[in-house]
Amino acid sequence: MKQFMRLLILSGILIPFSFANAQLKVFACVPEWAELTKILGGKHVKVYSATHARQDPHKVQARPSLIARLRSADLAVCTGAELEASWMSMVQRRARNRKVMPGRPGYFEATDYVRLLEKPKRLDRADGDIHAEGNPHIQLDPRRIKVVAAALAKRLKSIDPKNSNAYQQRWNSFDKRWRDSMARWKKKAKPLQGKKVVVYHREWIYLLDWLSIKRIGSLEPNPGVPPTPSHLAKLRTLQKPDMIIVSPLNNKKPAIWLRDKKGGRLVTLPQTVGAVAGTKDYFKLFDTIISRLLKAGN
């Protein structure tokens, strides 16, 4: 009897615990959406990121672990606009999980909710690995992140209605904090307005657009094509850039070459959360980006 009671008490403790632990399983294609989902979902979500900050999201393999992860996911959060085109559709078809197929509520594409820049006027592979819908690297524009976050919060509420209030609260507090931070970042970054930069890959356009920085050239002759000697020779005719922006994934040699020829400061910026030390969360990511730009821009 005593043992039975003990069991009853124990199960009374454990059962609600196991229910409380029934988290929403989220498969994020890239680290930035993993981070955003964690911010908005808190303890109600369990997030797995298919790529880490040192991987190029264009070139991920449809590897077995991704199929296994997507198999049991409740929600997949991706960028869209063909960024994950070379692997995600294969993983989706192999994982045999109908919840996360395109068109279902369990599949979320961030670029569905924002206007994309650099929509190509002509579609020709001679122009490199271009995306028909526009530049998909929206993760470095706080304005667009806010729009995506709003849509993502809505989506979380709709597929996990029992935690709807919690998602709403988390969204409200994120919204307020984000607005405050945006104002702060913008103010701090004022001296950067009108600066001229050369970038490696064209993944910075949204950041530059937000901060009113001018891109005068890129080291890649065409998106996704590594710098060539003939293209670098052309860059020598450019005006002097204030900064040359690379990500930790890029080969620094062409950037150093250009700096030595044309001047300007070389600055390595994190292209996503966790790409450099101290950028584990989205707020710190922008703190770091702006302080690095300010340091290099003066």
Binding site: I67, R69, R71, R93, N97, G103, D112, M182, K186
Partner: protein
Amino acid sequence: MNTARMRAAFAFALAASLCLPASVMASSTQGLDEVKQMILQMKQQYEERIKALEERVRVAEEKAESAEDTATRTETRVAEVEIEAPDSAPTSANSFNPAISFVLQGGAVSYDLDPDDFHFEGMPLGGEAGLHDEGLSLWEVEMTASANVDNLFYGQATLGIHKHDGEYEIDIEEAFLDTLSLPGGLGLRFGRFFSDIGYLNTHHTHAWDFADAPLVYQAFLGKQYRDDGVRATWVAPTEELLVEVGAEVFRGDTYPGGGNSGDFGDVKHGFIHIGGDVGDNSSWQLGISHMDVDVKERASSGHSHGHGDAEGPTFAGDSDLAAIDFVWKTDFPSGKKLILQGEFFVRDEDGQVIFSEDDDQALFNYDGKHEGWYLQGIFQFNQRWRAGIRYDRLDADNKLAMVDADLDGDAAALDEDEVFEESGFESSDHNPDRWTLMFDWTPSEFSRVRMQYARDNSREQSDDQFMIQYIMSLGAHGSHQY
């Protein structure tokens, strides 16, 4: 703020300079005290005024700051409206067109030995097995169209235009449908498709890391096994480790099958895939397969590019094939990549062979035990350059026994030794092997140019094989499998 403070200081100084001479002139100490007190009072008053002024300045500054904030916020809000996606994207009828892509492959090849004579002793070739044409040629054009049929099915069709005996023929390489919405991790594929045996078999040739098939694929799978059939797969609800179990049933019309009898499937195949990650940068997959082929009538050597006469030997019986494949991929943080890959096949065939020569026929029993494997490593130096090495090996041990040297019954019996040798079913002590070196250049995701050298000991004599190959993709950006 500064001007306010200066103004106050000036006023104080003026007052003091007016008062001081008066105090000096005052003779009584009482008068002096009064003056002192007056000055103190004045000082206090001025100090209070200065404080008030300072406070006003501070408030004004704060107001300005918050106005600036509001301005930034309004700006942000305006920007937000601008960056939101338009509600309706224009659609047109052709936006429902399937994704279409073409893959062109071709190159230049040089051999020491006659490519038409390519064979393995004891393992007669079938299906598409054989070497590329010597010289400069277009090898293959592949056209793939794919799309979701509706919310339940995905469809894909690949038409291949191959060069065969000097002529191009169009062939439905693959045409299949996948279910999209079955519950519980289940999936079905039906139509014509590449069997999921081994690792490379499901990959189209343009995704291979060498310009030609492993010897074991040439010997056991007719280069690549595809047929009409049904596949069912189940992906286990694990979280980190992939466990995929599948079963396939094929019609059995193409090598290693042959002569479908009209039953529901002469080829039965079961497989399991297990795979996962090791650390942040490495991944692996292991596959185990068993295929049971009920062969009604399988012609061999009839396809080895010109050599076989149409009346080649035909095999009927059982063919069992087991395979283990393993792939390891590491992406180093420096951008370099390593792929290690190996497949090991064992085949057991048991049945009878009919051999024909002119108008005479012979029948013999055939019991074959075959092994074949390859191991390869690819190293990617940077975004564009890769190099690879591969070693292939085959081993055959056949037992042949004449049943009837005069099957056609015209009393002219064929010579036993001659029949065994010419049928290609007689195994020898020579074990085919091959070393291959590869070097390729990938200027973009859509093009690749490859140079390859192989020392091929498939036959008694060694063959030095040089190849230059190009692989070019046009059109839709297909997704690649692991």
